[in-house]
Subunit: 357 residues, 4 copies
């Protein structure tokens, strides 16, 4: 069994890691870390509001009893002795200093964006760019670490990159235009999106998000060149919005392909896309589901397809505004495939491919 | 005073007409028509649920007391004697037969789509294409009517056409890509959008909507050629979605201009755009508001700007995916400028320009 | 295996029956009936929108493949040959004539209110009033039926009756005051609650609901006297509201007990309440869950406890306004325990107790 | 003109004060105070997010231009020179030390609860208990202040107290049971209610709220006895919940009156209730509106009645569970009559009655 620590364990993403790792056949949780405030308490106590006795557990799944009595240590003092892998669920600010500290000793898989844009850091999506893991050796060497850092992509990038991959492989891409309608859970709970701001409303701006999606998509679909990734040579342009949805990002995508692509061929390419994930415990049977129902995908109805690990596509149709234009709508679960469960799948791939353990 | 009949007066759009015409300085409501079920009753009785006594009034504004005791006649039997103008708020099905019946005698301004795509029927937006009214003479002549029919555009078209107009004038347009996040009120109440379908959700398809917006935008920005309108020579491609918002359509627009257009110039063109509406009672001071706040426009905060008659634009920025790409977000009030109040503004323009009265 | 027909199979409650019966160890679905419009088609075709090809399936659970190719018959022509039990998911209007037609031959378990208030018709809640099933013999005899009709309670009654039962048993009851905050799904989809009416709103009236809850609660907790039920001798007074929630009714209850009841004793009575449901496939392990978290129960977080079959109680505290006052809040799943799954549990109890099969 | 300072001016309640005082005929805003962070800046700058340039203005009404260039001072250093009245919109914690500091010199009207439960502090509702203002002299004397502190009630208390007043006057009261369905705005924005917690949900607990409503209602309807208020001798018992509504608290009330009260008499007493507010600029024409529509009041439709200053009542009916039971539903605007505008009305009453200025 791979022995993992979860850092940032008391927050919502940390809790999602605990759910994703509950009863995992390959990985066991051996240590929990969080901020100084929680350090020295049992996990149960650390997530209990002392004033009201309410347990601050934020997942739909029930609290993970196995870890309730584990001690929580201060993230700055986490020892990697007896740990094979760190899952980091902390904010980008502290990640900048803490993740290298862990990576000096062991591999770190992170949901933070702190290292995503560094040359020697791959942003891995199992089934999309497993080959980018080769960059980890260069990273190790360059930084003098025994471990490495590999962050998963932004939750808005992932559904886009997954669905563009078979199109890019089959037809090439000139450019991609995407408007997102993102769920509130993407903003977390500190305080995330305030009810007064989002009810009966759309917020048309998410600071930093568009730039992240644009850069990450090109990096993920790029190729390794020397010790870095050459971004894929198509432009991505986004307009990112927040809508009054709990979970599941919806994205309206317009893509211009290099070779002409008819609707049936695009659907076929998506349906037949096989990311080579067979055997990984958290992998969906199909990375992409394509619905024939013109009213799908819908976030409430489709976000949980294959445990939130599949991206659901619908409304594939020709677009007349772009050369070789194709348009479609996708729904991707931003806190399953787009966060902790996606990171666990990444760990499984790296274990399977010999990078961890 | 122009004497108007409101047809479809008991429905939500009909009620919005009554609100828009309350105390109007140029137009007075002289007749109300609705389906056979309501015929022969006072307006008050026609909108009262006999089982519960509840008044079925759907506008935020209070019921219009002036018309409460007016009789409602059967729309199929409405006499145009003593009427100068018909506002039609009926569905497209009955509009196909009823509107020509009225137009044989008097002008008809309609919120239905029944005649929007006929060659000799202009889709007028005051401040955008007033010159298209010249087509009404051809329509009259060709159809042998004393009146005419002029529908207002689809509620999703109007904000797009209004904001593209100054860009088109100043820079030309190659193509336009738009993703809408539309309010529930656009679907009406029969039953419109069911709460169970839209809460915590996005519905990515509105039957017929994308085609309407694409065709109408090109027609509205086209030019008269003979007895028809030559559509503007740029392609519009949409992805239309319904979100959990009461009123106000949000649209994320990506436009490719002919001449390069920087952000400041686009904002300037929008702000300075003067539709020549001065003196029309329902006209906004500015057709387009441009916000500097990166989090605007938001439907709840901006839909009521200038009584719902202004389109609010924000987040104007360069787009890298299209040649000379510009992107922005707009909010337009779909049941004010986008429906009855927009139709009343159209009536005012036609009265002012001598086409009515 | 008990062979069941589901009548009203294409509607939302009918679909919930199909989900509740999928893979059922004691009951198999042998016939599907619906309105004339669906008759003669396969189930799949009957629930497919011919215009768009969209499948009109309304449950969170996936469509039940086992029944997709079964034919749908006209409910007025359903033969009870080869059928041991009818589950009726139709509206009260048609139920008045159709349910007796079926009951002449076989038992009918119904979610309609048509027969709930008749003297010889018990409203059964497994675990609460199983003894009322004895009335079925009187019903059979009096009406000359081979079968019988037994409706389940209104979805708002069930959580109230379940939680009052241990209080009534232990302490007696003088009176009960209840304010409900009911989910939209309780109103169905025809059209149910319109999004425009409920977003950012509360609707403080549900026609007929308060009277139903008041009468049903007293009947369910009453005792058989001759061939009828003498209602429990305490008064129930309700104020029923609709809130913007998908599923799960929340009820704030204030109860005056005969004997003094402290908070700990009430919690103990609820927790220890054993409805004798062991062995019934759809039964929850505990009919009542009592939460210590002061912020619970919440409909989104607690409606699915034990598959929607448990009622969750919280905030048990003294009430100073009533003699021996106790107050608490409950959440009950209105379309699981409160509808089809509750009716299936009722069938299981009647099978177990020898009334069916 | 009375010269007022607004303390806590940058928060949402402070902004509501600025809106309520815009163009006020008797009161002018002469000073703005807030926390140290804002001190020394213009109001415009203090409410502008430096990172994005977004103006953090939270009212539906547009920002009040008159105060945009006024300086903001540190609330701990506010000088009462040239000030006749302080409106305090700060939290209860800082209010405990700051409000006495101001009250040493000038009258303070507060939306904080810090002093509500002190013996010599009246909780005034114009139209309900104006006579309690006599207690202010005792407060002044006892505390050695030139000014005084008078807080307005909790936003949930106010609609209840206003509607109980005519019932209490006409019929007496034994006890009151109330379940609230409260809007999110009552929780403010720091962070108030998180969207992830309230969408598709009800939160059945608001810490401290039930106790506040119970005590305040009795105090407001009590009588002065010596230098304190003897609470009204009826018990109030509440269950307070948060629902997914922006503004407007809905309350389901069950009241037991001393003398029998039929529905028509209760409606008559409410409609005829005249709080003696004629001449006060912010006063509604009628403190209580009673709707005949069985589906009213609804928060979205009724919260803004008379500018949010009227309480709307509906569904008045007999209650069978309480002796002489009456039940009804009310909607009251929690951030208009229930906060800043209510406090301004209170100031008007105190000015009119000679307590201020």
């Amino acid at each position: 069994m791979i022995r993992a620590a979860v850092v940032g364990a008391t927050g919502i993403v940390g809790q999602q890691f605990l759910v994703a790792l509950k009863g995992h056949p390959w990985i066991e949780v051996k240590a929990l870390a969080a901020s100084e405030r929680s350090a020295g308490q049992s996990y149960r106590k650390a997530i209990t509001d002392p004033a009201t006795g309410a347990v601050r557990w934020f997942c739909d799944e029930p609290p993970v009893e196995d870890v309730m009595d584990m001690p929580v240590v201060n993230a700055t003092e986490l020892s990697t002795n007896g740990i094979d892998l760190v899952f980091s669920a902390i904010e980008s600010g502290p990640a900048k200093t803490l993740e290298p500290q862990y990576a000096a000793e062991v591999p770190v898989i992170s949901t933070a964006s702190a290292f995503r844009y560094e040359d020697d850091v791959p942003i891995l999506i199992p089934g999309v760019n497993p080959g980018h893991a080769r960059l980890l050796a260069a990273q190790r060497k360059r930084r003098g670490w025994k471990g490495f850092i590999t962050p998963n992509p932004n939750c808005t990038t992932i559904g886009l990159a997954v669905t563009l991959k078979p199109i890019y492989d089959a037809f090439g891409l000139n450019s991609v235009i995407m408007t997102s309608m993102q769920a509130m859970s993407g903003a977390g709970r500190s305080p995330g999106v305030i009810g007064l701001d989002i009810l009966d409303n759309v917020i048309p701006f998410i600071p930093g998000e568009e730039d992240k999606v644009q850069r990450e998509t090109q990096k993920i679909l790029g190729v390794i060149e020397g010790d870095a990734i050459r971004p894929a040579p198509f432009v991505v342009s986004c307009s990112c919005s927040r809508v009054c949805v709990l979970e599941g990002h919806t994205e309206a995508v317009f893509a211009s392909t290099r070779k002409p692509a008819d609707v049936a061929s695009v659907i076929k390419a998506m349906r037949e896309y096989d990311g080579g994930l067979a055997g990984l415990p958290s992998a969906p049977a199909h990375l992409i589901h394509v619905s024939e129902d013109p009213f799908r995908p819908q976030p409430r109805l489709d976000r949980d397809n294959e445990g939130g690990m599949a991206t659901t596509v619908g409304r594939v149709r020709q677009d007349a505004a772009l050369p070789n234009g194709i348009k479609y709508v996708l729904v991707s679960h931003n806190t399953k495939m787009g966060a902790a469960r996606g990171a666990v799948l990444e760990a499984e791939m790296l274990i399977h491919d010999g990078y961890i353990g």
